[in-house]
């Protein structure tokens, strides 16, 4: 796909991070136990994981809505992080022991490119730092063995600080900077935009969180917006899809406010091939799609 003589973006994915999916999987790293749930999304992730494994990639580069930085774009800047991550919003579902490696060389290269693009950036070098659950969940779901290093990139709140249009402009620049760094790295990278689509939650959950008889989209307008965006992805109309993100962000209360999906499309130079939509499902009312762009 987006290749040069050296580095290559071999795939890009919309890889949402509801902690419910980890809870439902019952991996050994997570303490709470479940009876399953949200199979449509989890089985979609399984297919995408196999596709990605076949690409023999070197590194996962994830942009995460749950590492919010208001002053510049931050990237993990140490080679190893280990600890427990508890989701402060859903602590009863996600208490995950993580042990991950970071491709600091690529983190540094991306940070340098962001700086050259005129945007503030900083490498995070505090060894006590707790890695956010968005990064952990998206990376776990595409690579549960954790046998590849990652690059984790923070997101801004510029949609709230200014407007979704300002967010869009920044995310486009961040995507281009990421692309330049990867192409110059000699590495085969998979990019992950770790965000839901529509993002209005229910404020209550059933006594058994995985009771699927309670699960559905919060409201029909959000479903329609999600289908509009997914339709454009399936049709290979990524530029048109990106142009709708500001409106989608405001009207569907979408987690695209993070800029992650815009960043992904910009880094992939707006793929024209139809996306592979592996799954769409709701998690506590929010709309989530597992989507892959590869094989260009």
């Amino acid at each position: 796909m987006t290749s040069s003589s050296s580095g290559q973006i071999v795939a890009g994915c919309l890889a949402p991070h509801p902690p419910h999916l980890i809870y439902a999987e019952n991996p050994p790293q997570n303490k709470p136990r479940s009876e399953g749930g949200w199979e449509t999304l989890r089985w979609g992730y399984e297919v995408m994981q196999k596709n990605l494994d076949a690409l023999n990639y070197d590194v996962l580069v994830v942009m995460t809505p749950h590492w919010r930085t208001y002053v510049g774009t931050h990237l993990l800047g140490l080679p190893h992080f280990k600890g427990i991550s508890i989701d402060p919003v859903f602590p009863h579902l996600f208490q995950y022991n993580y042990d991950l490696k970071v491709d600091v060389e690529l983190s540094t290269a991306i940070s340098d490119q962001i700086g050259q693009a005129g945007l503030p950036t900083k490498l995070m070098k505090n060894p006590d730092f707790r890695v956010d659950y968005g990064t952990i969940i998206s990376c776990h779901l595409v690579n549960p063995l954790w046998n590849k290093p990652i690059v984790a990139i923070s997101t801004h709140a510029s949609a709230a600080y200014f407007s979704p249009d300002v967010m869009q402009e920044e995310a486009l620049k961040l995507g281009m900077a990421t692309r330049k760094a990867i192409l110059g790295s000699g590495k085969r990278a998979v990019l992950l935009a770790s965000n839901s689509l529509s993002h209005r939650h229910f404020t209550h959950e059933p006594p058994l969180p995985e009771d699927m008889s309670f699960e559905h989209i919060t409201n029909h307008s959000q479903y329609l917006w999600d289908m509009k965006m997914i339709g454009l992805m399936k049709d290979g109309k990524s530029k048109e899809m990106v142009s709708l993100i500001p409106d989608f962000t405001e009207q569907a209360i979408s987690e695209t406010d993070s800029g992650a999906l815009t960043w992904l499309m910009s880094a992939m130079d707006f793929p024209k091939i139809p996306a592979k939509v592996h799954a769409y499902g709701t998690v506590i009312g929010t709309g989530n799609a597992v989507v892959e762009w590869s094989g260009i």
């Binding site: 919010r68 930085t69 402060p88 919003v89 505090n126 600080y161 404020t203």
Partner: protein, 318 residues
Amino acid sequence: MILKGYVLPGLPQPLLTPKASPHYQNLRNAFDQVKSEINSLKPDVILVYSTMWPSILGHQIQSRPICRLIHVDEEFHDLGSIPYEFYMDSELAKTCAAKAQVRGLHARTADYEGFPIDTGSVVALKLLDVQTSKIPAVIFSSNIYADRTETVVLGKACLDALKEQNKTAVAVVVTTLSNRLHQSFIDPAEDKIHSLKDQEWNLKILEFFEKGRLEDLAQLSRQIQREARVKKVNNFKPLWWLSSVMGANNKYTGKVLAYESVYGTGSAVVSLTPAAESARDLEFDEDSPEVFAGERNVLSGEGSENQNAMRSIEDNQD
């Protein structure tokens, strides 16, 4: 019974780098004064409502008896790590959750080893040095979907719990006034409020505080949200909780112990001491709800959860 109320800022600079700027040192000095006041008051508990702990499933209440961790702020991680050990009043936390449920709120306790307490609560409790005084706390999340009614009712539920357990408390809200940070890296020595508009609104808010007009200010929360806050959440809620838990009036002696910028935000340390005289005797515009009556679904029928909550309160009052 609430002995005193405080408004405290939550960014980590006054804790980790007070000497980097006279602004941060002034805030640090004000925190020291608050610490001394609280130690003299000897409350049974410190109630903390933190705008920096968001929640979705109603209100969460920290109840783990001993919270021990090393915290690193996600934004200002280069300033250093913050090891902490705090004591929670677990029984009071559970009672607060139960009383909130009786009043129609969705509330639950959080008791998990390794739970990441938010930067604002960590900074406030560290600077109040509760590790030494061993005064327990109870920390309340800020529900991102809640509005005034839920927040006011949460304050009343806290009072219910204090009364039932016959405890005294100091009430703390962790919040900035204006919350807009500079979006580029700055020299701390040159820190200043982000904009003149933010500065003017902060001064207006502080004028109300100094006159003890807490409930008046609480009733201006929506306007403060429109004028001086980045719209990260649906509304500016901490003053609704503080005024509710302190009695929803203007009978206070207000003192602004410090007002400074921290990376552009309006960060103030304010104390409110209950007084005999009211600053103003006004008829407040907004109602004082006793229960949360839900999302007002026009299709909700007889015997709904919210109607049951209302009946339960009325029964208790009888």
